[in-house]
Point group: C2
Chain length 345, copies 2
Amino acid sequence: MRRPTIVDIAKAAGVSKGAVSCALNGRPGVSEATRARILGIAAELGWAPSSAARALSDGRAGAIGLVIDRPALILGVETFFMRFIAGIQEELGDGPTALMLQSVEDTAAELTTYKRWYAERRVDGVLMVDLRRDDPRVRALRETGLPAVVVGGPDHTQGLPCVWADDAGAMRAAVDHLAALGHRRIGHIAGPEDLVHTAERTESLRAVAREHGLEVPRVVHTDYTGEGGAEAARRLLGERPRPTALIFDNDLMAVAGLGATQELGLSVPADVSIVAWDDSPLCESVRPGLTAVRRDLPEHGRLAASLLLEAVAGAPPRHVSTSPPALVARASTAAGPAGPVSSRA
Amino acid sequence: MRRPTIVDIAKAAGVSKGAVSCALNGRPGVSEATRARILGIAAELGWAPSSAARALSDGRAGAIGLVIDRPALILGVETFFMRFIAGIQEELGDGPTALMLQSVEDTAAELTTYKRWYAERRVDGVLMVDLRRDDPRVRALRETGLPAVVVGGPDHTQGLPCVWADDAGAMRAAVDHLAALGHRRIGHIAGPEDLVHTAERTESLRAVAREHGLEVPRVVHTDYTGEGGAEAARRLLGERPRPTALIFDNDLMAVAGLGATQELGLSVPADVSIVAWDDSPLCESVRPGLTAVRRDLPEHGRLAASLLLEAVAGAPPRHVSTSPPALVARASTAAGPAGPVSSRA
């Protein structure tokens, strides 16, 4: 399987290189019969135009880019990214567009990567994750001509197309569930404070707790690591009175928080209920199984890639919301110390 | 940040497009002073040659490829791939080579992807994972001129460069640990049977068990999913006499197997000891914490990418082994029913 060249096609067809070139490029200079024969032989030999040659002729790089700004250790554990990427791959299928992936250390490096990819025509567009308030990346991407789709939003994307999940509604489902079980003191072990979706979850938590007449929830921000989640859990459970329910912003922190809670001699769910975010096989695998907010993460990837291909083709920006998140109840949540609301009626 | 062109540079420098082209391409036709000024302005504007133009001139695609043949669900949970990819990214840094990623459904689709990437000059080489015995991908890659590095080996790569871990030695460390604790009946919940590294682990398990005079270990092959791991654990623990120690081939199966063991009313480690493979934050986060085989997975990625860049540059193939795996002992392993070997002396 040596890479076939125009010379190979010319040899196999018994014609000149020039004739092959005319046939492949749809230029006059060969008869229709010869053109058909040459195209047939090219296909048989597995010939394809080089992506570089094609990029120069149609201006397309044939790739979209994803830059991830997370430490390597977290990348390897959080299930979000690989499921998101799996969705992107599903949308791209075996079509002409590939995924270019880069992990970086900070926002400056992310911006540099966008700029370099753009200058080198290495990608036709990018997917941007981890949206922040007043995000400098949104401004930078809008100022370029590089098509971009933001995962998150839709209020902070300054008009860029975006794919977003109803984080506020998902938090409402989690708090409704805990309130119905009689919990009145909820702790939220949240992601980094500057992420838009973290703020949306926290604001929703406070609003829904007020509606239910619960105590003001305690919120601790973390770096999404298991260690950070366990430490935040120990801190909240050390307060008096302690929360009777904890909501964790990713699955790894929830699993680590479950371990930390048990190490404090507290039983889950008898003493403390636990809700995880982004249900995953992990949430099913630990004991007790973790009640979790479930989103269709591959759907996020599929929709984001699809919107980006639209944007590359010049379509006007769209804001698309994903399927509504759902709460999956498992054994880690049960009646709070005062019992469920119904039993107190 | 519009993409700067040669026209922009010409305007800013007050010279012709032709002069800019001479300066950027190192051709005569402009004075050294003008060349220096033009290059300075080009750098200031953030100009870079398009990757397509560069690929046509030096024949390099500026990307290496990785095809992963796993269901989306597993990709999202197994920590191996993202940590491996993080290592690749570390080696590539912000250099001229990017990573192209594709997930596929089967080996045929993987071979098709290699062929297409090669024909389109989309990548300069590929990293191949999940090495099998008599792997058709090794033959196909050797027959092409596409540089490739295999992760795994070194006895099954037919001369292709490879990066491999000492799976046999790691299994020896795990079995020595369990034998010293007095375990005599070990079950192995293994990955897919046709993977070379699965076979190496299983063969090593049998050999070391013989050396220690243990019973013949029971081996069950799975698909690496948590569900598969839990089911295999239930099956082995349902046998009489049941194994007193289980070795799982990935972290997710070990966590699920821990849950399944506890659901059977068995205590870990009092009734059953558990060893996980590829230590991860998960193994630390569950209770009891899981004793695990630890490898430096980012190192795998770094070495594999480094060898591939060598191969692309035309260096002769090398076989490189990674740092020796180590066993990290945690609370999930303890003395077997007969007590540790030393206490029976």
